[in-house]
């Protein structure tokens, strides 16, 4: 098991290196720089700033310097949020993003799994069609459309919930962003669960379970549910990546102080170090989450063992 974990982590290194390198150079391809403001800085000051942050060096030297610092765990200072290092900003934003993401994943499973099971059990009935219709809508409508619409409806028109802000993570402030973030995942989970449940219900061992004289709910709970959840479980890795990218948009829309917002602001401001820092952080997070999901999978499926 430890061996396997070590191997997976080692395999992540080249992936992360490619991600970091690509983002570094792509970022620099974008026109403008961190000190282009509305008010033109005097050339001497700008030159001094550039020198202070080593931005006057050739690009390849900056790249080597950045990689060198990164290896020592140093993300560098933020160009825009003076007095803050990138690490400090990420650590400030992470609890917000984590809470948002975890709640969204939880909601996706809590609603998606039962929806899928119900649709599978009532296959080709009005219930199935309406559940799957809703799910299809959830997939088709992007979150940057649904989020402002929800804010408009529940925040402005009905006045039930605040349209934005974090407010220390108060429940009313959480509802809209979490739901907006989860909708697409609920839909995916429901559709996947339905398909895999239908497949499992048609399998030979379910026939065996029925031939034993079990009641239908015993057949479902004891024999169908766990096997049917396996594909959903392996989807959790990509789902987490989806939640992370989704949160970039959602945090911006609802004005939440998570990493996603720093990421967007950083990109707009050409805050190179902040953008790079969030990219590295997201990369590592996705790698780790996928690993955790795969390890969880082995708890579910006895055929998967990592202890060669």
């Amino acid at each position: 098991m430890l061996n396997y974990i070590a191997k997976r982590l080692a395999m992540a290194i080249p992936t992360l290196w490619i991600v970091i390198t690509l983002s570094f150079f792509l970022m620099r391809l974008a026109p403008g720089g961190p000190f282009d403001g509305e008010r033109q800085l005097p050339p001497e000051i700008e030159a001094n700033l550039m020198a202070a942050y080593h931005l006057d060096e050739p690009l390849w030297m900056q790249y080597l310097r950045y990689m060198g610092n990164l290896l020592q765990g140093d993300f560098g200072p933020s160009f825009k949020y003076k007095d803050f290092s990138v690490t400090e900003l990420i650590m400030q934003g992470f609890p917000v993003s984590l809470e948002l993401g975890a709640l969204a994943i939880g909601l996706a499973l809590l609603l998606g799994l039962p929806m899928g099971v119900m649709a599978a059990l009532k296959r080709n009935t009005a219930l199935d069609y309406s559940l799957m219709g809703v799910a299809l809508g959830g997939i088709a409508i992007p979150n940057f459309v649904i989020a402002p619409l929800m804010a408009l409806l529940f925040g402005v028109l009905l006045g039930w919930l605040p349209v934005g802000g974090w407010n220390g993570g108060a429940l009313p402030n959480l509802v809209l962003p979490v739901v907006a973030l989860a909708i697409q995942q609920i839909a995916y989970v429901a559709r996947m669960m339905r398909a895999s449940m239908i497949e499992v219900l048609g399998s030979h061992y379910i026939r065996t379970a029925r031939a034993k004289g079990l009641r239908e709910h015993e057949v479902i709970l004891r024999h169908a549910l766990r096997p049917a959840m396996l594909p959903v479980l392996s989807y959790l890795g990509p789902a987490i990546a989806g939640i992370i990218t989704g949160s970039v948009v959602i945090e911006q829309i609802f004005g939440l102080p998570g990493i996603g917002r720093y990421f967007v602001q950083g990109a707009l401001n050409r805050d190179y170090t902040l953008v790079m820092g969030t990219v590295v952080f997201y990369g590592v997070l996705i790698v780790l989450m996928n690993l955790i999901v795969d390890l969880l999978y082995s708890l579910f499926d006895p055929q998967i063992r990592y202890d060669d």
Binding site: S203, H204, Y205, T208, K212, G213, L214, P302
Partner: protein, 532 residues
């Protein structure tokens, strides 16, 4: 006799398909007494499985049942769902054809067997476990104490079927429905399972409804037999009567469908086409990055001569290495040892060197469903090899040869415009043969070409192979686990076990006087009569 245990009276099953209703079973009536074994025989699609599944009321919702199914006098077609659940797994239990997939893959086998006991006998966990252990021992699971906590994937097909039997027998049912219980298993395992069932029947005194397509098994196993075709019962009676004097043409045809005849031997001085000396095939797997390779030797030093016009039969159970050997002979797999095709030493030949020889060494695989590309027409499938090996041929010449090949395998040349899914299993196997034949090969590797086919279809494919061998002077290596087919087709036979040759020799002398115990066991298990 008093009331029979199971009485089926004018049973009819219709399926409401989106395309309209289809009748799967029509006016079927038969009965089984206590302690009796009745075999329901028929080819695929004859309705035998639908009939048996109807008894358990396990048919899908779109099935409509009419007629009567009486179990110990009680009409099951009228019984409530909860009454049926009381009977299932308790008074009537069932084992299925697919031992590999009939157990829940995520649960330990002990728990799965115990579930029936907890359900119907309200046993405590501890008592159930003790009884499960006893059952596993009874059905011959080795080291039951340890195996009780195994997951299905840790067991072989034969062991899984034993677990299914243990589950079915847990509550000592009065009727056991065995739906092709041994079809997916090797012949020696098949014999063990059938002996086990017979032994348990004696011990528990249950009736068995035995569904099979294999008449050889019926003769050994059942007292009474019912023959089904197209959903109807065409003949029934005591096994001895039916086998001695079949009344219906279809039964007669089934009985005659056992492969017959022998292959006339080739001249002793016929030239050698293929020579293999001390063939070895190794598979290596590496489990960890820096660990030593795991080496598994699938073929261990086999020497084989094939004369032109000969058929060499290779028999053995699954895992014996027979398919691996076949593939190595064609150099579809890398091997050690010497290999000659005619006068060419092809031992170390790679893909490029083999390419010019490929048209002369062809192969037909077992699975007539999986080995034809579903997106190509039959004509395209057959002509593809021509495009590769004979690029100089123009379109009309290619077409002419495709038509010729289809006529050779007795298919209508007009069918070349159609797609594989429009054909039956037997027809697809003919297409696969035509695809090999169109290249005018000298040597044909036949890897279980008839195993997926019904007996009556098998016989026609065997006849076809014989005819083609005569017509074109073909040389065959014929791989099969079916001894009767091998006996009918080959000059010499090679019995393989664990990658090695157990016995090798002229077909008739091996079948008439098997020298090795393993060969004898194989034959006994396959119910091949040495004297036939």
């Amino acid at each position: 006799m008093t009331t029979p245990l199971l009485e089926i009276d004018n049973l009819r099953v219709d399926f409401d398909l989106p395309t309209g209703p289809v009748t799967a079973v029509k006016d079927v009536s038969f009965s089984i007494g206590e302690n009796q074994t009745l075999a329901l025989v028929g080819e695929s699609g004859s309705g035998k499985s639908v009939t048996s599944t109807a008894v358990m009321r396990l048919l899908p919702e779109m099935a409509r049942i009419s007629g009567k199914i009486r179990f110990a006098g009680e009409d099951l077609t009228e019984a409530s769902a909860s009454r049926i659940r009381q009977l299932r797994g308790n008074d009537i239990s069932m084992i299925f054809q697919e031992p590999m997939t009939s157990l829940n893959p995520l649960q330990r086998i002990g728990r799965q067997v115990a579930e029936v006991l907890k359900k119907h006998r309200s046993m405590s966990g501890k008592a159930a476990r003790a009884r499960v252990l006893e059952l596993l021992e009874q059905v011959g699971i080795p080291e039951a104490q340890r195996r009780i906590d195994s997951y299905p994937y840790e067991l072989s097909g034969g062991q899984r079927q034993r677990v299914m039997i243990a589950m079915a027998l847990a509550c000592e049912p009065r009727l056991l429905i065995a739906d092709e219980p041994t079809t997916a298993l090797d012949v020696t395992v098949q014999a063990q399972i059938l002996e086990l069932l017979r032994d348990l029947q004696r011990r528990y005194g249950m009736a068995i409804l035995f569904i099979t397509h294999d008449l050889g098994l019926v003769r050994q196993f059942a007292e009474r037999v019912c023959v089904m075709r197209h959903g109807e019962l065409v003949e029934s009676g005591s096994t001895a009567e039916v086998f001695a004097a079949p009344r219906h043409d279809y039964t007669r045809m089934l009985l005659e469908a056992e492969p017959r005849g022998h292959k006339p031997p080739v001249a002793a001085d016929a030239p050698l086409l293929l020579q293999a000396r001390n063939m070895r095939v190794r598979f290596t797997t590496r489990k960890r990055l820096f660990a030593a390779d795991d080496v598994f030797e699938a073929v261990r030093g086999i020497t084989l001569d094939v004369q032109r016009g000969q058929t060499v039969g290779i028999v053995g159970e699954s895992g014996s290495g027979k398919s691996t050997l076949g593939r190595a002979l064609l150099r579809l797999l890398d091997s050690q040892g010497q290999l000659r095709f005619e006068d060419t030493d092809i031992s170390g030949f790679d893909k490029a060197l083999m390419r010019p020889l490929r048209s002369r060494m062809q192969v037909v695989f077992q699975d007539p469903f999986g080995s034809l590309s579903p997106r190509l027409t039959v004509g395209e499938i057959i002509s593809e090899g021509l495009r590769v090996h004979f690029p100089e041929l123009d379109r009309r010449e290619r077409e002419r040869r495709v038509i010729e090949a289809l006529e050779d395998v007795a298919l209508d040349p007009l069918m070349r415009k159609r797609y594989p899914h429009e054909f039956s299993g037997g027809q697809r196997q003919r297409i696969a043969i035509a695809r090999a034949l169109v290249l005018k090969p000298d040597f044909l590797l036949l890897d279980e070409p008839t195993s997926a086919l019904d007996r009556s279809v098998q016989v026609t494919v065997i006849e076809l192979l014989r005819h083609l061998q005569d017509k074109y002077g073909l040389t065959y290596v014929f791989i099969s686990h079916d001894l009767a087919v091998v006996r009918a087709l080959s000059d010499t036979v090679l019995v393989m076990k664990d990658g090695m040759v157990v016995e090798q020799g002229a077909t008739e002398s091996v079948f008439a006087n098997p020298r090795e115990a393993y060969t004898r066991e194989l034959m006994r298990a396959a119910f091949v009569d040495p004297a036939a």
